[in-house]
């Protein structure tokens, strides 16, 4: 299989272990459902809106709600999350949460044990990919996944580079529907 290039070339992988590309929302949903203690890390890119006016953050909150995933809000994301009536389970910047996740003994945002699946959504792609690199190398006890519209080589599971935003939105909607289905 030839290597998948990330959308942004600054994130081109120099290495051997790259993310598994997944396009099937049902498969993504299965990974999330199988996780015992998933965590959704949401970043400031979600404060933008889609072409049809939907706030990207709403997708994230719907996913969290559908699968009962705790949220970590990074940067200034917290303000809007609260405005939408949700209290984030934790507020760390992305390097801080990655730093905590590295520690297998950390008790996680719910104080119930470290997370086994970390989903990054809405982090600037260079910083996001670098944070995933930290987890790939120094947090072997957990898996990582991304929901952004680009391929992230340092994740365990990543979406492809969507050429059209509408296709990406379709994926997110399908993911939410699959998560709502239950087992």
């Amino acid at each position: 299989m030839s290597a998948v290039l990330p959308r942004h070339r600054v994130n081109v992988l120099t290495g051997t272990k790259s993310a598994r590309l997944i396009e099937d929302a049902a498969e993504y949903a299965d990974f999330i459902k199988k996780a015992k203690r998933p965590l959704l890390v949401i970043g400031p890119l979600l404060l933008a809106s889609t072409a049809d006016g939907k706030l990207l953050l709403e997708y994230a909150l719907d996913i969290a709600k559908a699968a009962g995933i705790p949220i970590c809000a990074t940067a200034q994301t917290k303000g809007k999350v609260v405005e939408l009536g949700v209290k984030p389970d934790s507020v760390y910047d992305v390097v801080e949460i990655a730093n905590a996740l590295k520690d297998p003994e950390w008790q996680g945002v719910k104080k119930e044990g470290n997370h086994d699946l970390v989903i990054l959504f809405g982090i600037r792609s260079d910083l996001g990919n670098q944070s995933l690199s930290t987890l790939k190398h120094f947090a072997p006890h957990l898996k990582t996944m991304t929901l952004c519209k680009h391929y992230f080589p340092h994740a365990n599971y990543s979406l492809p580079n969507f050429k059209k935003d509408a296709k990406w939105q379709e994926f997110l909607e399908s993911l939410i529907a699959n998560l709502k289905k239950g087992d």
Binding site: R7, H8, R9, V10, L13, T14, G15, T16, K17, G43, P44, T74, A75, Q76, K78, G79, K80, V81, V82, E83, S90, V91, D93, V94, V95, E96, A98, N99, A100, D103, W106, I123, R124, S125, D126, L127, Q130, S131, S133, T134, K136, H137, F138, P140
Partner: protein, 768 residues
């Protein structure tokens, strides 16, 4: 016994070099420290602020054993693991930075000693007696002449060789030890920078002991292109000051326009207020491609490597003036100047001329000869709209953009006659030119952006060099008590993620009566935004090192005056001896000087060493989001880490609970996040209740302004007792603290890390 003799002999040698017999202060425990001498301090710092690695590559390709895959716990063929490899890379970056400044210092010193002799006295004016706080602290030498500066530099060069040696395959096997070496290299960087800038101030008669330096013109619109234009680019003023001298001697200063890019621009405006600043490195390619410069003189550091090719495209002449970058050009240093001029004019040849007076003469003659024949026209908006129509918005430009934005979107709008988006994008553009290189339709993206950017001009205050001793005496108490909430140092490159961010940060903190100091490209771009009254921050705020002041310290090498100011607080205000006493100075700064560095747009290896040098001195540094590509941060985990310190007055170890400062090297995702984080990183354990309340007032208010909802999650960690709570948030904070079961605790009288780890420094050394 033999070992003891060797140590004694070595110490005697050091004492000889630093003229220990001159008793201006007793010699402390670490004059001219070598790699192991401050290692215990580093390890203590790294215990709380552990290295956080984000590998940029999974492989090592340094030697022919490789490439070696370092994923999943694998070690390379030499035995190195992924963390140690990252730390080795960081050390190499810091060494590049340190070497760039030290070699710059070495060159300028040689140049000035040739001009003035080694006995030229160092005199920084009436208000600066403590002329070289870094050199005095690290080296243990009080430099009195230019010749003395050579002693400091020889020490730096020797240490660089040892540190670089340690990067060789099959040596150091500990990430922490590589970090200690990176901290050492970066401390040396501040010595090298200090040598360079003191030499420049003394040798070129730059402003010193003065705050109110001239306001100089900035922006390409400020350049009179009807005159012959000479562009100086880089960092080393040996080229540009001699050029100015030549123009003055020949009464040509009003006939030839001199402008500069990057730090050379700042240096040149310290020498002549007629010189203009084009802008930071991100403006270099724009300006070169515009063809406004008749002659480009390059010196060193952060000059583009494609300068000869880009200049040739638009008919600008090029002279490479320093050996650091000779571009494969023929070395014409020994030639007759008129012969060089003839070949440059007639044949459009480019040359290296490593003799400043000759380079200046040739540059002026060539510029005056070719300027009248050259066309220097901007594109019109109408022409730009037509050219923009070639763009299909295929998206390739976005894929290669280091700042991750789609210029194709902006160009598509230009094709419709709308320049609003591309104007905004111009502020995010780092000026690398990769978009234009990849464009399948050959759209002249840079020329289009230049039309959009327009010809606006701004003001930048000329760099003023060291902070004055008198200023330190005035602000020492309020800084250490906390009533001046902090010193914010915006340093280094300025390109990422949006050029306006720097001016916004300066405005926000100056308005709140922090002391704001700037250097390098950050100092330029701070002036590249105007408020509603048309004023830049340099016109809006006073130039004093005092509450609410905005101070342009100078170029990259002037960063040593910022670390120097922190040391001066410990020495002048707190009266702690500094000679060979680095650990005590750093411990004081870490625990008691509320300073925070901000290298928001950092790109270079020099920024890595500048920042890491601040870290060893106990000053935290905030970086922009792209800086995760530096591979390493120093982060604590506030709720889990050990925040115990020694209370030197009571001589007992106390658990303060408070993470102050919380991190030493930290990446923020956005400006909005950075604002409260910078304020938080100015909190120190030494704050009085009044000072802490002032600092928390800003932390909470910035949090509410930029993040939004509620109080900062960690506010309880910084409230020791009720008087720490700012009046305006009293009710809200009290209610929150009650809800989470917060308990008051006593502030520390004299916090120090000395006594909490193995060190030769006695506890009494920190009591003043």
């Amino acid at each position: 016994m033999a070992e003891l003799k060797e140590i004694t002999r070595k110490l005697e040698e050091i004492h000889r070099k630093i003229k220990a017999e001159i008793p201006w202060e007793p010699v402390g425990p670490t004059p001219m420290p070598e790699i192991p001498d401050l290692r215990q301090w580093d390890m203590r710092l790294l215990k709380t602020y552990a290295p956080f690695y984000a590998p940029f590559c999974d492989l090592c390709c340094f030697c022919t054993y490789g490439k070696c895959d370092l994923t999943e716990g694998r070690r390379g063929a030499c035995g190195i693991d992924i963390a140690t490899q990252q730390a080795r890379f960081v050390l190499l970056a810091c060494l590049m930075g340190c070497s760039a400044h030290a070699a710059h210092g070495g060159h300028i010193l040689e140049f000035l000693i040739e001009r003035h002799g080694p006995d030229k006295k160092i005199d920084l004016g009436t208000f600066i007696e403590l002329e070289a706080p870094n050199i005095r602290t690290v080296v243990g030498l009080k430099p009195e002449t230019l010749g003395d500066l050579q002693i400091a530099l020889e020490y730096v060069f020797k240490e660089i060789a040892h540190l670089l040696d340690s990067c060789h395959t099959g040596q150091e096997g500990s990430a922490l030890d590589y970090e200690s070496k990176a901290l050492h290299a970066s401390m040396l960087d501040h010595v090298g920078m200090e040598v360079a800038d003191i030499a420049q101030i003394v040798g070129f008669n730059y402003p010193t002991s003065v705050a109110d330096t001239p306001l100089v013109d900035m922006g390409w619109g400020a350049i009179d292109k009807s005159k012959p234009v000479i562009l100086v680019s880089g960092h080393n003023p040996a080229t540009s000051t001699v050029l100015i001298d030549y123009l003055r001697e020949h009464n040509l200063e009003d006939q030839v326009e001199v402008c500069g890019l990057c730090c050379t621009a700042l240096e040149t405006t310290r020498y002549s207020d007629k010189a203009k600043i084009v802008g930071p490195l991100s403006r270099a390619l724009f300006f070169m491609r515009a063809g406004i410069a008749d002659v480009i003189m390059t010196d060193e550091q952060c000059i583009r490597t494609d300068t000869p090719q880009e200049a040739a495209k638009v008919g600008s002449a090029v002279i490479a003036c320093l050996d650091k970058a000779m571009y494969g050009l023929e070395d014409a240093t020994d030639w007759d100047p008129d012969e060089i001029v003839r070949r440059m004019v007639d044949n459009k040849e480019q040359f290296a001329i490593l003799d400043s007076p000759k380079a200046a003469e040739v540059a002026v003659k060539v510029a005056m000869e070719i300027a009248p024949k050259r066309k220097k026209e901007w594109l019109s908006e109408e022409e730009a709209i037509e050219l923009a129509k070639k763009c299909t918005n295929c998206g390739i430009c976005e894929q290669v953009c280091p700042n991750l934005f789609s210029i194709g979107d902006g160009i598509t709008e230009v094709a419709k006659g709308n320049f609003d988006l591309i104007r905004q994008q111009f502020l995010q553009c780092i000026g690398c030119g990769k978009c234009e290189q990849e464009c399948p339709r050959d759209v002249p993206i840079f020329r289009l952006m230049q039309v959009a950017a327009g010809n606006e001009t701004w003001k930048c205050r000329a760099g003023r060099g060291p902070v004055m001793d008198t200023e330190i005496r005035n602000v020492g108490a309020p800084i250490t008590l906390g009533t001046i909430p902090g010193i914010i140092a915006l340093v280094g490159c300025s390109n990422y993620p949006d050029i306006d961010d720097i001016a916004d940060m300066v405005d926000e903190f100056a308005k709140r009566k922090y002391i704001v100091v700037l250097t390098g490209c950050a100092a330029m771009v701070a002036g590249m935004k105007k408020d509603k009254d048309g004023l830049t921050v340099y016109e809006k705020y006073p130039p004093d090192f005092d509450a609410g002041g905005v101070v342009n310290i100078g170029s990259c090498v002037s960063n040593a005056h910022i670390s120097g100011a922190a040391i001066k607080i410990a020495n002048i205000f707190a009266a702690l001896p500094l000679r060979g006493n680095y650990e005590v100075m750093a411990d004081y700064v870490l625990n008691r000087v509320g300073a925070c560095g901000v290298a928001w747009g950092a790109m270079s290896q020099k920024a890595a060493s500048i920042g890491t040098g601040f870290n060893r001195l106990g000053v935290p540094v905030v970086l922009g989001p792209h800086s995760s590509k530096y591979r390493r941060l120093y982060l604590s985990r506030k709720e889990e880490d050990d925040w115990r310190v020694m209370d030197a007055r009571k001589r007992e170890i106390v658990d303060t609970v408070e993470p102050a400062p919380e991190h030493l090297a930290y990446v923020c995702e956005t400006k909005e996040k950075a604002m409260p984080m910078i304020a938080k990183l100015c909190i120190r354990r030494n704050d009085t209740p009044q000072g802490r309340a002032v600092k928390l007032n800003h932390y909470i208010s910035l949090y509410k302004k930029y993040i939004g909802a509620g109080l900062p999650e960690d506010i309880h960690l910084f409230v020791r007792r009720d008087p720490d709570i700012p009046l305006v948030y009293k009710k809200e904070v009290r209610a929150h603290l009650q809800e989470i079961g917060w308990q008051p605790r006593e502030p520390i009288g004299l916090p120090t890390l000395i006594g909490t780890y193995a060190t030769k420094v006695p506890l009494d050394a920190v009591i003043h």
